[in-house]
Structure formats: C-alpha cells, structure tokens
C-alpha cells in the first residue's frame, strides 16, 4: 500500500480562489487516520478554507482534495449528505439550533444519520454525559454559557460517531479554563482513534498539546509536519 493510499485526508497542490482573492495557494499535505492536526495561522491565512474543502462546502479551484479516498470534486447532491455524515464539525460560533433543547440538538444529528428514534435517548444521554452536559439536557441554548454551547456542538459532532472531527476555532469564544477542558475532551476522543483537524490561532493551546502543526501564512503552508 502506497503512502498516499494510507492517508485519510490528502491535499494535492490545492489552490482556492474567491474571485481575485487567493485563499489557498498550491497547498499539499496529508493526514493519517487517528491523527490530531492543528492548522494554525493568522486570520485570512486559509485555515477555514481547508476545513470547508474537507467538508465539501466548497471545491478547489485547482488541485485535488481526497478524503477517505473520495475526490471531493465528485460529490454531488446525492452523495454529499452521506459524506458529511462521516464528519463531525465543531464551529467557533457553535451553530446550535436555538429553538431546540440540548438533547434535541443531539437528537437531530442522530435523526440525520438515520438512527432509529428508539436509540436516540440512550445515545444522546451517553454523549451528553461524556461532554459534561448530563444535567443540561433539557435546557435551551439561550440558557447555556459559551463553554456549554461549545460542548453541545461537540456532543452533536461526536454523537454520529464520525471518522473525522473538524474543529474551526472551537476555543475562539471561550475563556482559558473552558478552552482547556474542551481540549482535554478532544484529546481523549483522539486517543479513541478519531482523526481531528483543528483550526486555531491560539498558540498557547498549540504549545500545550504536542500535536502536528500545519502553519499557514498568506494562503501557503509555511511550516508543516511540526511535532511540538
């Protein structure tokens, strides 16, 4: 088996432009199954663009993005949903459904992947307990703190048992203590074999957790495969 074939995520000479703005310029890297990778860099460096490409939200202008041996350019309306169901996403702005309870936010994700309704409660309760939201299950997002909302986002991402977890600045809106506890959770999940790609510009976190770093600047990778 070649090295390329063992990669879960493979970017080959990827360029992405938005009109005249170059978001990624000839970027190449690979991520193996079970890796925890930080994507760092200043605002506008292309961190979110990488995550969007992996999620199939956008397609590359040039080059090739393969995820689990699937070229994302081949994703269409039919297979895009099932592809995304393999990926858990944690957003900086949480993106929780505001008019649904914590439990329902997780249940929606379970409904999306087609899990029978009879299994929702057990699975959701287990995940919520895991992220420390066991007692907040029936609360609405407006009744939660920023850290708790991010945990809801994490619980939703984990509930579908994804192959890959994408985290876009998950600590961006959190204080240090809450960020640390979220990172501990992510590390625990990574140890269970999940591949995690986390975009962040929080260098303190990057420094504390010794993981592989892909550093972007000006739409290019400037420092890759750095194990801190």
């Amino acid at each position: 088996m070649s090295q390329e074939e063992t990669l879960l995520i493979n970017f080959k000479n990827v360029t992405k432009t938005y009109g005249s703005v170059v978001a990624l310029d000839d970027v190449s890297f690979g991520v193996k199954k079970g890796e925890f990778v930080f994507i760092t860099g200043p605002s506008g460096a292309g961190k979110t663009t990488i995550l969007k490409l992996i999620l199939g939200e956008i397609i590359p202008t040039k080059g090739e993005v393969r995820v689990d041996n699937l070229n994302i350019i081949n994703l269409n309306d039919k297979n895009l949903p099932s592809y995304r169901q393999k990926i858990g996403v944690i957003f900086q702005d949480f993106k929780v459904l505001p008019d649904r309870t914590v439990f329902e936010n997780v249940a929606v994700a379970l409904a999306v992947v087609g899990l029978p309704e009879s299994e929702w409660e057990e699975r959701a309760k287990h995940i919520l307990k895991l992220v420390g939201l066991g007692r907040q299950a029936n609360l609405f997002p407006s009744q939660l703190s920023g850290g708790e909302l991010q945990r809801v986002s994490l619980a939703r991402a984990l509930s579908i048992n994804p192959k890959i977890i994408l985290a876009d600045e998950p600590t961006g809106n959190l204080d240090w203590k809450t960020s640390d506890s979220l990172m501990e959770l992510l590390e625990k999940i990574n140890k269970e074999g999940k591949t995690i790609i986390m975009a962040t510009h929080n260098m303190e976190i990057v420094g504390k957790y010794k993981k592989r770093v892909i550093h972007l600047n000006g739409a290019k990778i400037t420092e890759a495969d750095k194990e801190k």
């Binding site: 949903p81 099932s82 393999k86 993106k95 459904l97 505001p98 409904a111 999306v112 309704e117």
Partner: protein, 305 residues
C-alpha cells in the same frame, strides 16, 4: 423519524399562530367554495340529464294507422341509437291518462270517448341535441300525424331554445365556478408561498446547520412540506365540512323546490357518496397544492457551493 419532522412543523405553527390562521382561513374558504361549486356542477348536470332523458317526444299517429305499421315504426325507433324508452300509448291508454289528469272533475272524463284521442309513440332522445333531427325524421313517417315535445322551459318556442337555455345555464355554472375556484386556488397558493417563504427565511440558519451536518434535502424539506400539508388538510376538511353542513341544512327545501328534478341524490347514502368523492378529490388537490407550494419555495433557496 416522521415524529421529529411533525414536531418541528407543529412548533413553526405554534410560534406564529396568526400566519397559520391566515393561510388556514384562505384555504378553508377555497375548499368551501370548491365544494359548493362541485355540488352546483353536479346538480346542473343532473338537471340537464333529467331533461335529456325524460320522455320528450310524442309522435301522434293517424287514426287509420295499421297495427303492423305501428309495430314496424316502433321497432325502427328502438333500433335508433339516439332514441330510447320507446313506448306505445293506445287510444284507450290515452283516455285513461286524460281521465287521471282530470280526476278532480270526473265530468270532463265522461264526456269523451277513446276515439277522439290519437294513439301515440312516446320516446326520449339520448341527448337533446338529437331531438330536432329526430322529430323531423319521425314527422315524415306516413302513419304519423304530428309530433310534439314536452321539454319546454320558460315558454321557449322551439326545442333548440330549450336546449340552448339548459346548456347555457350549465356552462355558466361550470365555467363561472371553475374560474372562481381557480382564482381562489391561485390566491391560496400565493399565500402558502408567502408563509413557507417566511419559514425558509426564518430557518436559514437551521437549514445551513442541517446541510453541514449531512442532512438530506428530504430531511430539510420535510417539516415545511408537513406544515403546508397541515394547512391544506385543515382547509380541505373545514371547507368541506362547512359546505356539507350547509347542503344538509338546505337540502330539504331545495329538493322540495325542484320537485321531481333530482338535483341532489335522493337517499342519504347517495349524498354521502357524492360528498365522499368531493372530499377525496379535494384531499388530492390539497396534497398537490401543499407539495407544489412548499417545494417551490424551497427550490428558491439559493444553494452555495
């Protein structure tokens, strides 16, 4: 799985009750009018059919007509596909009919003998449009003295006038009713589009999140389709029920007014059957309306990739 979509749809309705009321009210009005128009179309068709199928033409026979010739003509009339219910009325039977008609004054019946009444062949035509040509043909028969018709409404001078008036009335009911219902259906569709459009705008963030976590189009659309279906189904049931109650209330006086003309089914089962068919058609039309309204709105949501 249906439960989660139904709960979502129900929560949209509960969160904006006035929008829900507005769309339900318009749909109720639409289906109420549609039910009434359907009954009117049915009744006018029955009325036309009644006049088309009752014995209309009487061929009065010459007094010297031979029985063999009469039987021959009767057979030829029965063989004509445009003619039905051919009946021979002898002079004696004609007298009996006259005596029955004048039973309140028996003296009139006693003063006449069968010989003054001509024998006749009575028949009806399958469609009134054949009547005039049939009369003209029968009139030329050697044993026929004269031909008359009984379908006279409002003192029309000729059969063409009778046909013309009935068909005009029926067409007015059909075209006018269908146009009015059509306008209401379009209004309902527009209101449904506005309401579901508002939902889509209100759900933009939710749709975006669902898209990102891998929800299929069907999953995202389902609550909107269910919501539109709830509106149309409630409109169908309410509009139909109000019309049904109104018809049940008015039926005795309407039936009495029209006498022997069967504009409504005579028995309860027939009436229930008629309204059952109307309900079935309206539920089908409502489903089409709900689907087209909600899917049209969703299709307008811009897809970005």
């Amino acid at each position: 799985m249906f439960n989660i979509h139904f709960r979502t749809a129900w929560s949209y309705i509960r969160r904006s009750p006035f929008q829900a009321l507005a769309v339900s009210f318009v749909l109720t009005l639409t289906f109420f009018v549609a039910t009434i128009v359907s009954v009117l179309v049915y009744s006018s068709s029955r009325m036309l059919s009644y006049f088309e199928t009752r014995p209309q033409v009487i061929a009065f026979l010459k007094s010297d007509a031979e029985e063999g010739d009469i039987a021959d003509l009767q057979q030829r009339l029965q063989a004509n596909p445009n003619i039905k219910d051919v009946k021979y009325v002898s002079k004696e039977e004609a007298l009996l009919i006259y005596q029955e008609a004048t039973s309140d004054n028996p003296l009139l019946g006693q003063l006449v003998s069968p010989s003054i009444f001509p024998a006749s062949l009575e028949f009806s035509v399958t469609d009134l449009s054949f009547a005039q040509s049939t009369i003209d043909t029968v009139r030329q028969e050697a044993i026929v003295d004269s031909v008359g018709f009984t379908a006279a409404l409002g003192g029309e001078a000729s059969l063409d006038d009778v046909i013309g008036r009935l068909k005009t009335v029926t067409n007015y009911v059909r075209i006018g009713g269908i146009t009015f219902v059509g306008l209401l259906v379009v209004t309902s569709l527009v209101i449904l589009l506005v309401i579901t459009g508002m939902r889509v705008v209100g759900r933009r963030e939710e749709v975006e999140i669902l898209n990102l976590i891998g929800a299929t189009k069907g999953f995202i659309r389902s609550p909107l389709v269910i919501e539109a279906s709830i509106y149309t189904l409630s409109g169908v049931v309410l509009g139909w029920a109000i019309a049904f109650i109104a018809v049940l209330y008015l039926a005795p006086s309407v039936v009495m007014y029209f006498g022997e003309i069967p504009i409504l089914p005579k028995d309860a089962i027939g009436l229930f059957k008629l309204f059952g068919i109307i309900l079935g058609i309206e539920v089908f039309a409502g489903a089409i309306l709900a689907l087209s309204g909600s899917l049209l709105t969703i299709s307008r949501v811009k897809k970005v990739r």
